[in-house]
């Protein structure tokens, strides 16, 4: 066996010292991680592995090895750049942030409501990106909320998840029929809890900051009502439901109740909703303009508690590139969204794992095992023998994030200018 080497590192999900044998044809399966398979690597307790002939030994003491992350919510389109360039830059940014695969949310540039767009996107990914990119189909044509997309066609091209991206369908009749139809195809509906009529022309969480800035507030109850509506629709139609970017304590509570009564629903939270509050908007800082908006500290805490008790299945980036010009506009005109792929794992580590708010096992569950099982359900037709690469994480380096760190192509990342810890090696070989 050639090109093999052995790392002595710490297996992040358990904290045990281990040896890893890297090389083609190697793989491990982890019961504790939902049967997750890793590729090109075999993990054994430290000292128990006999090195193959010719293997190089590398001392990785103090570093962690773990499954690379899967992001269930990323947008690939970089405004103003070619689609191919967008794919390649986003792939690089993901690898730097410890992400090996992602669900690509439809955007205006990548409107996955037809096979031609899916094919050309998949070609671009094959040619340009080392990062796995699974497109999510749209619920409605053009994500306009009026007419259903061709779900059979999308499903035949490997689509497992449907979402209209930032737009929440306000036509419940269309959605109810779509869910009934798509339930037969085992497609998952990924939708944010929202009542568009309540949140139109609102720009941030209602509170002291929105009052001081004279910006209309987005009522938290819109999310709760939206989630309850989606839960009832899914229950009635038998469709799979994944609640996107929960931002409120009430939203977490709705999902907790649904899970307690046995409803099969999954949910995600964006990293920024765990870290920031509406006060971060400060004096109209457009970097912090996101949909749904940043809420109160008590919401951040409820969301994190939801991640820890499994109410919220995944932590996602909600990576949304915006050009510097877009974000230089006034708060009302500027587009929503921030980027997070470039700094994802270091930010998770610095803000959640290092201060003891989240364990490595919880992180691997929420950022790898759970999102992967939602993106590629066991019973889905496209379920190939997918296996997850490992990454090496060095928690030591401490650095200030500068624009030079950002490779995704846009600078609307709130970590710029802050201090982060940790660096990622991905791929390992």
């Amino acid at each position: 066996m050639t090109n093999t080497y052995i790392l002595n590192a710490t297996w992040a999900p358990t904290g045990e010292k281990c040896d890893i044998c890297l090389g083609p044809g190697k793989s491990s399966s982890f019961e504790k991680l939902g049967g997750l398979r890793t590729c090109d690597a075999e993990i054994q307790p430290a000292g128990s592995m006999s090195a193959p002939d010719g293997a190089r030994r590398i001392d990785a003491t103090g570093k962690l090895v773990m499954p690379a992350l899967f992001d269930l919510h990323a947008k690939v389109e970089v405004p103003g750049r070619s689609k191919r360039e967008s794919v390649s830059r986003t792939g690089q940014a993901a690898a730097q942030g410890g992400v090996w695969g992602m669900l690509v949310i439809p955007t205006r540039g990548f409107m996955f409501d037809n096979y031609a767009t899916l094919d050309s996107f998949n070609d671009a990914v094959t040619q340009r990106s080392a990062t796995e990119m699974l497109p999510a189909g749209t619920i409605s044509l053009g994500a306009q909320g009026a007419q259903q997309a061709p779900y059979n066609t999308l499903s035949a091209r490997g689509v497992n998840i449907l979402t209209d991206g930032d737009r929440v369908p306000d036509n419940l009749l269309m959605l109810h029929r779509a869910m009934k139809y798509a339930a037969e195809l085992n497609l998952t509906f990924a939708i944010r809890g929202d009542v568009p009529a309540l949140t139109a022309n609102t720009y941030m969480h209602p509170g002291s900051t929105s009052y001081a800035l004279g910006l209309h507030g987005t009522p938290a109850c819109a999310e709760e009502i939206g989630i309850e509506t989606l839960l009832r629709l899914a229950e009635d139609t038998g469709a799979r439901l994944h609640i996107q970017t929960v931002s409120t304590a009430e939203g977490v509570e709705s999902i907790r109740r649904a899970k307690a009564r046995g409803q099969a629903v999954t949910a995600e939270v964006a990293l920024h909703h765990l870290l920031y509050t509406h006060e971060n908007v400060g004096d109209y800082d457009t970097t912090f303009k996101v949909t749904p908006p940043l809420r109160e500290r008590s919401d951040c805490e409820a969301l994190l508690a939801g991640v820890k008790d499994g109410t919220i299945d995944c932590i996602v980036t909600d990576h949304t590139p915006c050009t510097p010009f877009d974000k230089k506009q006034d708060f009302i005109s500027a587009p929503q969204g921030m980027t997070a792929l470039d700094t994802f794992l270091p930010a998770l580590y610095t803000h959640l794992v290092k201060p003891g708010k989240l364990s490595w096992a919880e992180l691997v569950q929420a950022c790898c095992v759970a999102p992967l099982s939602i993106a590629e359900p066991q019973d889905s037709e496209s379920d190939t023998d997918a296996s997850v690469p490992l990454l090496l994480f060095d928690p030591e380096p401490e650095y200030t994030v500068t624009p030079d760190h950002i490779v995704c192509g846009t600078m609307n990342n709130p970590q710029i200018g802050t201090t982060l810890c940790g660096s990622v090696t991905l791929p390992l070989q």
Binding site: P206, Y211, Y284, D330, F331, S333
Partner: protein, 309 residues
């Protein structure tokens, strides 16, 4: 004190600066009674009024103020400009900066636009009202009017009545009055008055509570139908529930309270006809003082456009 380039909000000013501007407004007002109503303070300076929202009062008040300081005034009319052709605010500003303006007075329906402009140009930027955010020159003329009437602002009680949610006047005027030691309360229809925990200002819901609180000044706001995307309250109710009716005017008269309003007034909605002619109605004083306050603001600011010639 560092020279100040822009006036964007009251909150960004020190109390010392607020008092300086109010003091020099008194001196400016003295000019109005002279036979030559003009001083050369801003001679040779160019002032641009850039109003993205319709306005007659504020715009002409600023223009008169600039003229009385001997500045050259240019009016940028949005309806005939390329803004209607989709030009971004940034590109408009680049164009205007190439014209070497010293002062830009801007009004926009979006909160935060004057700050964006101020960041990107050397001219002194005066916020003449942005969305529901701030209207600092209105705050100065209100504080000036109360000071003129009562000798000082400190210790006075002012209740602001009406559509607080959409009102930049409520935000800026309450801010300056509190900074100067007055007490402020809000009253209006439930959906239009933000919670006290968000504003730090007591919230009343009816006139009985107001009379019990014993304010000195009743400050009425205009119901801004143009800012409401959908009705916030039953339209027919307003005058009876929240307006100064003739009945309430009698009570106001008994208690010797003053009435203020930033204009334009909706007669029969927030205020009855009789109240317009009431002896303690200060609405016309506000208009006159607006010019003095705006002269003082222009005089106080220092554009970064000057060379040391």
């Amino acid at each position: 004190m560092n020279p100040r380039k822009d006036l964007l909000t009251i909150g960004s000013l020190s109390t010392e600066e607020i008092n300086t501007i109010l003091d020099s407004a008194t001196a400016m007002k003295d000019i109005f009674t002279k036979s030559v109503k003009k001083v050369p303070a801003l001679k040779g300076k160019s002032v641009l009024t850039l109003f993205y929202e319709p306005s007659t009062r504020t715009r002409s008040s600023f223009e008169v103020a600039a003229h009385r300081l001997s500045a050259d005034v240019t009016t940028f009319t949005v309806s005939t400009s390329s803004v209607v052709k989709g030009e971004s605010v940034h590109d408009t500003i680049d164009t205007l900066m190439s014209m070497k303006m010293d002062y830009i007075i801007v009004r926009h329906k979006h909160s935060g636009i004057p700050a964006v402009i101020a960041r990107h140009c050397k001219a002194a930027v005066i916020n003449a009202g942005d969305g529901a955010h701030a209207h600092p020159s209105q705050a100065f003329l209100d504080a000036f009017t109360i000071r003129e009437k009562y000798g000082e602002v400190a210790g006075r009680r002012v209740v602001i009545i009406g559509d607080i949610l959409h009102s930049r006047v409520a935000r800026s005027t309450s801010c300056i009055l509190k900074r100067l030691g007055a007490e402020v309360a809000y009253m209006g229809p439930g959906p239009l008055v933000p919670l006290q925990k968000h504003t730090g200002i007591p919230r009343f819901t009816n006139w009985d509570q107001i009379f019990e609180w014993r304010p000195d000044v009743i400050y009425l706001l205009r119901v801004q139908n143009e800012r409401m995307d959908a009705p916030f309250f039953p339209a027919g109710d307003y005058h009876q529930a929240f307006g100064v009716t003739e009945e309430r005017l009698e009570r106001i008269d008994d208690l010797n309270l003053s009435i203020m309003h930033p204009g334009p007034v909706n007669r029969g909605v927030e205020i009855c006809d009789a109240a317009m002619d009431y002896r303690n109605t200060l609405i016309n004083d506000q208009v006159e003082n607006g010019i003095a306050a705006r002269m003082s603001i222009l005089y106080h600011l220092t554009p970064q456009t000057q060379n040391n010639d």
